[in-house]
């Protein structure tokens, strides 16, 4: 089995697991999946002693991490401060695209994004802000996700 077949297999299995979770728990399933991917990040990033001062540091770190490990081809982002503060992250060529495609074909919106979870983990652990994976708009090749901040002092 070559690498792309293996990726297709794992994404198929992952989609089945996430769907089972959704079938069991409905929309509440997404709140049980917010740590998926965090251990993978934590085991590497936290050992490297990275200094994080702000959101841009976090997104730069995630972008490098994700590209080095070929989890996605590219991440771009904006920090938006309108009605609330949030990151708008555009992830292109994600390794899990097929999982999301399969779930999408069953009418299930993105319930879990390991990369978004990694972003949320670093925001919480480094900036003392808690955040929420608010929504994702998906297309064939990329996802645009909103990660909304809720300040501890709010």
């Amino acid at each position: 089995m070559d690498k792309s077949d293996k990726t297709a297999y794992f994404n198929e299995i992952l989609a089945d697991v996430v769907k089972s979770f959704y079938d069991e728990r409905g929309l509440g399933a997404r709140y049980r999946l917010t740590l998926v991917g965090v251990d993978y990040l934590r085991n590497v990033v936290c050992q490297n002693g990275n200094v994080i001062k702000d959101v841009n540091d976090i997104m730069s770190l995630i972008s490098s991490f994700v590209k080095e490990r070929q989890l996605a081809e590219d991440i771009s982002w904006q920090l938006v401060d309108e009605i609330a503060q949030y990151i708008k992250a555009k992830i292109s060529g994600c390794l899990h695209q097929e999982m999301c495609n399969k779930l999408g074909s069953s009418g299930i919106d993105v319930l879990v994004c390991p990369i978004v979870n990694m972003i949320m983990f670093l925001v919480e652990s480094s900036l003392s802000k808690t955040c929420e994976f608010a929504e994702t708009e998906r297309s064939e090749r990329h996802c645009e996700s909103k990660v909304v901040f809720f300040s501890s002092q709010q």
Partner: protein
């Protein structure tokens, strides 16, 4: 028949109470509420529940803060994505809408648990098939018993819905790995007098023999 009437009355008049008088909850009330939970049905009679009774003010504040942040975070997400506008599109009173939005997006809607004299944290054994269902049966028994004893209670998921928050509470309360935090019940003498919220009509939810075949002709 008297029993049936009493049960019907308890179920029909129970409301979720989120404002409490600054009075202690007597031990016998707590024990009766816990006993009601203990008597719930469970798959294989596994009885996977355990209950942690919290009276300590500092701990209640910590749990309240976790609940507040969980709620506030989720509702801020709904606000940013426009879901909240859709939910309240029928509400014409703009001032009321602003107040509700603020209550939700700041998480204040869930912070009330700090003011409940007692919190009962319901945990469930994961090494059992039906833990969430079993523990939910226990919780409903407990809510009804509290109400029957003229106390107010509320089933609070705000601090336990997201696994990130659940793990914080587990650490605070030293809950072992084999157990999950199912939910929290706040308990106290009610400070508010509320009516039960509207329910959908029975006709909309019952089918005969298969889905779609209305039971009520």
């Amino acid at each position: 028949m008297e029993l049936a009437r009493a049960v019907e009355n308890a179920i029909g008049t129970r409301v979720s109470i989120r404002a409490y008088r600054d009075e202690e909850v007597p031990e016998e009330v707590i024990l009766k509420v816990l006993e009601a939970g203990r008597r719930a049905p469970s798959g294989e009679n596994a009885q996977p529940w355990k209950f942690i009774v919290i009276r300590d003010r500092v701990m209640r504040l910590k749990l309240s803060e976790i609940a507040r942040r969980g709620s506030g975070r989720r509702f801020t997400g709904e606000f940013v994505t426009g879901v909240m506008d859709k939910r309240f599109k029928g509400l014409q009173d703009e001032e009321k809408k602003r107040r509700i939005y603020r209550n939700l997006t700041t998480g204040s809607v869930s912070a009330f648990i700090a003011t409940a004299p007692v919190l009962i944290v319901v945990i469930g054994n994961k090494k059992v098939w039906d833990t969430p269902y079993d523990c939910s049966a226990a919780m409903q028994n407990m809510l009804l018993m509290a109400h029957a004893l003229s106390f107010g209670a509320c089933w609070v998921n705000a601090g336990t819905l997201d696994v990130r928050d659940e793990l914080k509470i587990k650490e605070l309360l030293k809950v072992p790995e084999d157990y999950k935090i199912v939910s929290i019940i706040s308990l106290g003498k009610p400070k508010e007098n509320r009516q039960p919220r509207k329910r959908y009509p029975l006709e909309e939810m019952v089918y005969s023999e298969e889905y779609g075949n209305s039971y009520f002709k």
